[in-house]
């Protein structure tokens, strides 16, 4: 009886969920649709055309921005993976008060509004006389992304018992070898998931990049932002569609890759706070 009652779906909640999904996807799909419009209109679809995409590949400033963003995202991903993993390993095993303080400080970027992080980074870089460039964007993005990697890797580490390392030590490994040969390989799925997520986040990041970038070449989101401010156009629809598609693929991969290693789990559990197994 009781279970059957729960099985009866709450009609209102289901209807609201359906509306929510429509609301979530309608604007995005409209952007994609009108990127193929052969007229400039954003409300009347007159015919299929790839002219706006053709414009994109001939826009050298935009291509420079795309390359800059790819470089920024690649270097930032590698950097934050290295630091974030070190931090996760250290924090998971150091239980002292000092460890807890460090743990709290490294999580601060997650709860600081991005505009604050961005403005503070701008002040720091100008203060120490660093010329704003791609390098400053990368430094800021790494600082911001370390926390993401740490959270994801710690979630996975909590599932690996310390005994595995202990066993490796008993078999004659040095502490460093135990981490390199035993812990890191078990962390691989989490590292790939975190890497893909950070790459997508940094590639799309606008606020930090906006405050820390130099003049040329600007990261892609910053360039797109300045054209959006002037108004809407099918050309922005085209680049927007490509950006959405690229990051959607990356996020899907970030969610799926860990599943290939361990059936029944995904980094979705890490994002939603489910139990890591």
């Amino acid at each position: 009886m009781a279970t059957r009652r729960l099985e009866r779906k709450p009609a209102l909640a289901v209807a609201m969920t359906a509306v929510f999904f429509a609301w979530l996807y309608l604007p995005i799909l409209a952007v994609a649709l009108f990127s193929f419009n052969d007229k400039k209109s954003l409300s009347a679809f007159s015919g299929f055309s790839l002219r706006w995409y053709d414009d994109l590949v001939h826009n050298s400033a935009l291509l420079d921005s795309l390359i800059a963003s790819l470089k920024i995202a690649t270097v930032s991903t590698v950097g934050s993976l290295v630091f974030g993993t070190m931090l996760a390993l250290g924090l998971e095993r150091v239980t002292s008060r000092r460890g807890r303080v460090i743990g709290a400080v490294t999580l601060l970027p997650l709860v600081t509004p991005e505009i604050v992080t961005g403005v503070a980074a701008l002040l720091l870089f100008t203060g120490i006389g660093l010329k704003l460039s791609m390098t400053t964007v990368i430094l800021a993005e790494i600082t911001f992304s370390i926390a993401y990697v740490t959270v994801i890797v710690r979630g996975r580490l909590a599932g690996i018992a310390g005994e595995v390392e202990e066993a490796a030590r008993d078999l004659g490994c040095t502490p460093f070898q135990a981490v390199r040969l035993v812990t890191l390989p078990t962390l691989l799925p989490a590292l790939i998931g975190a890497g893909l997520l950070v790459f997508a986040l940094v590639f799309d990041d606008f606020v930090l990049a906006f405050f820390t970038t130099g003049v040329d070449p600007q990261p892609l989101p910053v360039r797109v932002y300045s054209s959006i401010r002037f108004g809407v156009s099918p050309a922005i629809n085209a680049i927007g569609t490509l950006m959405l598609l690229a990051s959607a693929l990356l996020i899907v991969a970030a969610l799926w890759v860990p599943r290939l290693f361990h059936r029944g789990t995904s980094s979705l559990d890490l994002i939603t706070g489910g139990d890591p197994r």
Binding site: A2, T3, A13, T17, V94, F206, L268, G274
Partner: protein
């Protein structure tokens, strides 16, 4: 294993873990902690006659932001952020409830279908709303075709800005609420229905209190980015819908009064810290109770 060996080994391990912590900690101190310190210091600074920001020990910036114009803007930001939180919670509960309790084997797929667009470019999604709601956008042309009206001005209204904020950040409410609903023991809901005979009463007396942790987390996670946002107000709104984030952005990118901008940022952080502490208090009392 002898006690000495255990001690020696744990000492060795601690030293390795200590070294692993050292480098990233140094990085965070160099680039994050110090940047926060600089912004606090500069908030007491001033600009020279030729416009350069310099450190000083004046409270002029704080006195400058304590005026009607800025306070009104602060209140407006707070109102928008609170509205965003309320709407996000109203969306999050039915959506998370439907997926967590009635999603069946499509649960993960449905959550992924929410997460994927949300983690893809915030900027492009704000642009999508701008395109949709603009005077010659799809919505207005639909309205004109239906003959109901000559078109409605959506952009440059508070509704558009708050709508943009919700669209941008609602996922941060859905995920924690979903996580705690998923962990909820469904027999509690059944017992509630037996006791109260009303789904609404069951929800408010059983489900909602039992998922308080997720609710608090969701409220905080959407409030933080909403209060600091400037993109939604910039793209979907106008000067009369500007938020604190826009003010800060203007001081740094356009107005070039960095010390004043720093004071505004510190003020924003102070407000957020108060709320954070309240949040931590609320969650820790809850933990003690259970």
């Amino acid at each position: 294993m002898s006690e000495v060996a255990v001690k020696r080994r744990s000492a060795q391990r601690t030293s390795l873990w200590g070294w692993l912590l050292a480098l990233p900690t140094a990085w965070m101190v160099a680039f994050f902690v110090s940047s926060m310190a600089i912004i606090v210091l500069l908030s007491f600074g001033r600009t020279t006659n030729d416009g350069y920001p310099v450190f000083a020990t004046s409270t002029a910036n704080y006195r400058a932001i304590w005026n009607e114009v800025y306070l009104e803007l602060f209140l407006r930001s707070l109102t928008y952020a609170v509205a965003t939180v309320v709407i996000s919670v109203l969306i999050a509960y039915p959506v998370a409830y439907t997926i967590a309790l009635h999603g069946g084997r499509y649960k993960n797929a449905l959550i992924a279908a929410i997460v994927v667009p949300f983690f893809a470019s915030y900027l492009v999604r704000m642009y999508a709303w701008k395109a949709l709601l603009s005077d010659d956008g799809l919505v207005n042309s639909g309205l004109r075709h239906s003959g109901l009206t000559d078109g409605v001005t959506f952009l440059n209204t508070p509704y558009a800005v708050v709508g943009g904020l919700v669209y941008g950040f609602v996922v941060f409410t859905i995920l924690p609420v979903y996580a705690s609903l998923e962990r909820l023991d469904t027999s509690l809901i059944e017992a509630g229905k037996d006791l109260y005979h009303s789904p609404m009463r069951t929800f408010f007396t059983v489900t909602l209190p039992a998922t308080r942790a997720g609710l608090y987390g969701g409220v905080l996670l959407v409030f933080l980015p909403a209060l600091g946002d400037f993109v939604s107000a910039q793209l979907l709104g106008g000067a009369n819908t500007y938020m604190m984030g826009n003010l800060v952005q203007q001081q740094f990118a356009e107005g070039q009064n960095w010390p004043l901008g720093s004071a505004l940022t510190v003020g924003m952080m102070a407000a957020l810290t108060v709320l954070m502490v309240a949040y931590l208090r609320a969650t820790s009392t809850q933990r003690r109770e259970s």
